[in-house]
Amino acid sequence: MLNRQGRPTAPGSDSTVIHKTFTGNRALQQIEPLIFEIGSMDQTGVDIDAPAPHHKKLGAFERKAPIGLPGLSEPETMRHYVRLSQKNYGIDSGLFPLGSCTMKHNPRLNEKMARLPGFSDVHPLQPQSTVQGALELIDTLAHWLVTLTGMDAVAMSPKAGAHGELCGLMAIKAAIIARGEEATRKVVLVPDSAHGTNPATAALIHFDVRSVPVREDGTVDPQVVAELAGPDTAAIMLTNPNTCGLFEKDVVAIADAVHKAGGYFYADGANFNAIVGKARPGDLGVDAMHINLHKTFSTPHGGGGPGSGPVVLSERLAPFAPVPFIRKTDAGLQLVEDEAEAKKHGAHPFGRMTAFHGQMGMYVRALSYMLSHGADGMKQASEDAVLNANYVRACLADLMSLPFGNKPCMHEVLFDDTWLKDTGVSTLDFAKAMIDEGYHPMTMYFPLVVHGAMLIEPTESESRASLDLFIATLRDLAIAAKRGDTDRFTGAPYHAPMRRLDETRAARSPVLKWLPPQPILEAAE
């Protein structure tokens, strides 16, 4: 076969044998060594003028020994990281149904706004008169958060969800100290379905964790809470919607039970995306709730951060919010940065969560998302997120097992591995086979309350066509698993940049940094 220029285009053979390549590369999938293997101590990708002559003022502290940092030129650097990026799966690559993580579309307008020099090129300790616009942005975002949640105040500075949990529990502890009950109120109730960060956070500030069993239907029983709560109870930490993908239908009774015992209601807001504009935590009896701006409000997950976890607070806890906070004055917005100043304004901050004022870059992105969606669009987004999850549920319920029955879920649907019994395929195998089909796996083995959990959160960002293909793929996989086509699963993934990785080996003798190769000693003759 010839093309119009008369050159051959068809392959010369029909062979389908896959040959090993000389380089080990497979076209776009290229093996990329570590910078320590390709860089050198004399190379640099940055041109810096020599300093003016000067007498060093380093005393005895001048570094003598080499550091061990290889450099790369700019084109080499570019290629290194582009090649690395090609080994990663992101939301922009495909459907990313990671339950409880809300992998929704990250609008690029957010990125553009966060890079406006007026936000990105201002220092946290400039005179406050020179950053009034930055304070206005934080204050505006705070207004949106308080309005969407129906709460009284918000502590903006926590750096991530778990940091927000810590902030919320510290506010609760401060309130308990103010009541003179710190010696007796030491227990935090945590349902078995909670994220691991909940008990870890409670333990970090020396609360005793008391588990709350989850009842048959996947939710918490207010009767059980009432029995477990008492004069020793500081708080309950309840995720709502919970990690089984269900709204805690007795949330008001649970709140009442905890309040009646003299405790506070901490809500884990990781799953707020299901109910924005549909219900307000403040109406449900919540005293404190962190909001993951990197989940519900679309700031990028960035391979594991940075996050941002502002905490909304009830009237009872608001006075204990940490510094800094913003107050309105006749002269403009004032950032209150220390306890003495805070006390002048009637506040009793429990302390400080972090240096400076929090995750400004994430605030800009979140507000950009909120302004784009508006109150109406965010309500629609929550409805679509819930609709998409229920569509997946409805279309897979006949093949996969739903531990709490085939009933409506919120923005994520939870399957267990009962349906895989006797197939020789585990939840892990099933997840790895999804990789071969071009999907990021769902959250697996969490929550812990069901066996072999598969938690699927499609988010509102998926089109119907995308969902239909995803559903068809899972159906095909499920049928293959049940048919006994186990090789497709137990050896998976076959087509990813790497085959399955040995995590046990990594943990047994940890290699946590690159080490120069040891010279191989010649064996004595």
């Binding site: 570590l34 050198s40 101590m41 990708g45 810096i48 300093p51 000067h54 060093k56 003022k57 001048e62 570094r63 550091i67 940092l69 290889p70 450099g71 790369l72 990281y81 990026s85 990663n88 799966y89 992101g90 939301i91 553009k112 706004m113 007026g118 090129d121 201002v122 020179t130 930055a134 691991g196 870890a200 956070t201 333990a203 970090l204 109406d283 449900l284 391979g303 594991g304 940075p306 302390g351 400076f356 929090g358 994430m362 950009s368 784009s372 508006g374 669009g377 309500k379 987004a381 119907r464 993934p493 790497m498 085959r499 040995d502 995590e503 080996r505 943990a507 940890p510 290699v511 940094k513």
Partner: protein, 446 residues
Amino acid sequence: MRYLPLSADDRSDMLARIGVDHIDKLFADIPRDKLLDKVLPLPLAKGELEVERILGKMAARNKTASTTPFFVGAGAYKHHVPATVDHLIQRSEFLTSYTPYQPEIAQGTLQYLFEFQTQVAALTGMDVANASMYDGSTGTGEAVLMAHRITKRNKAILSGGLHPHYAEVVRTLSKMSNADVVTLKPDLRAKENLIASIDEETSCVVVQSPDVFGTLRDLKPIADACHAKGALLIAVFTEVVSLGLVTSPGEQGADIVVGEGQSIGNGLNFGGPYVGLFATKTQYIRNMPGRLCGETVDAEGKRGFVLTLSTREQHIRREKATSNICTNSGLCTLAFTIHMTLLGEKGLRALAEVNHANAVMLAEQLAKLPHVEVVNEHFFNEISIRVKGDATKLVDRLAHHGIMAGVPAARLFPDQGLEDVLIIANTEVNTNEDRAALVAALKEAM
């Protein structure tokens, strides 16, 4: 709405497939009287152009660092970031990925974390580093808790040269977890006697170098004194560029090193997001907080990387975890490691030298001014001066004239007798003209 792909027809078809006739049937578990029946009182959806206008207006009300002679530091520093860095961190595969729980499709993230850990270990002179913390201040809080776990003691001693925000984070965490903290008085001239405060109950001593006033501290004698009493030395830095020119904390005997990495690869961003660096000795690995990336092989024997030692972490250990940390500073970590790769040893040293030279020149010029005293003997790129009168008012006056002179110490240490102290940072971005403008303005204002 441009972010929502479902059409009205899709929605009704899907509801039908689910078997309900109204979207609110899916929200039936929300108590009837709590389900909102109207849209909340907030603005409605807007196009890109309008959002840009609103946020652009807010941004325009702030004075940016690049448009003035800029000497503000004290924990966050204005440096030049190569264009390559911001381009690369915006690649979708980095930007929109998650914590690498599925290593077969996350080798990009895992390999750069492994490289980052190696770079940080080398810079700090320590055996191992983790995959980053939220920032330097929260990392310092975690380091103190880690020291308590290792020594089974619970008293921390904080140097008066430690950034007061860092000290406050440690005090807050300690107050809430019933641990003791002794904070020494603000130590403008590095004269404090830390060693005298170390006793048999001391778990750790936290020292910052260069300290918050800019002075380089001798860590070795403090490390020796700590070790003699069974305590650990936690060495802190807020200016990572200093490690290009200054002996590493590891060489000086530190047991845990924590620092702020913002200066490399990351902008000022009004205080965040930043990237916490955290390193320690091999024997303490299992007491470390945060994510760790380790080397392994795949089913074909090829080298690859995974998150490891997760039995320390909250998602496995729950209330017995070493920390509640889940997120790290992923993308800021990436920015750090790309910038550090561009610099390499050669570039980092050159950058550090320019920073130091600029600060030396400024110190010399300021020392010649009447009514000004430079307090530091040994420093890297930041100095403190005593001025005539109130430094806060001076800074405000100079800001009014378009010069960002530095951070008044009283903003960080209110009511501590430091009203006449000004902390001045000087990096590679400051030109001779910038310095001349600052010196002239100070002279005129006093």
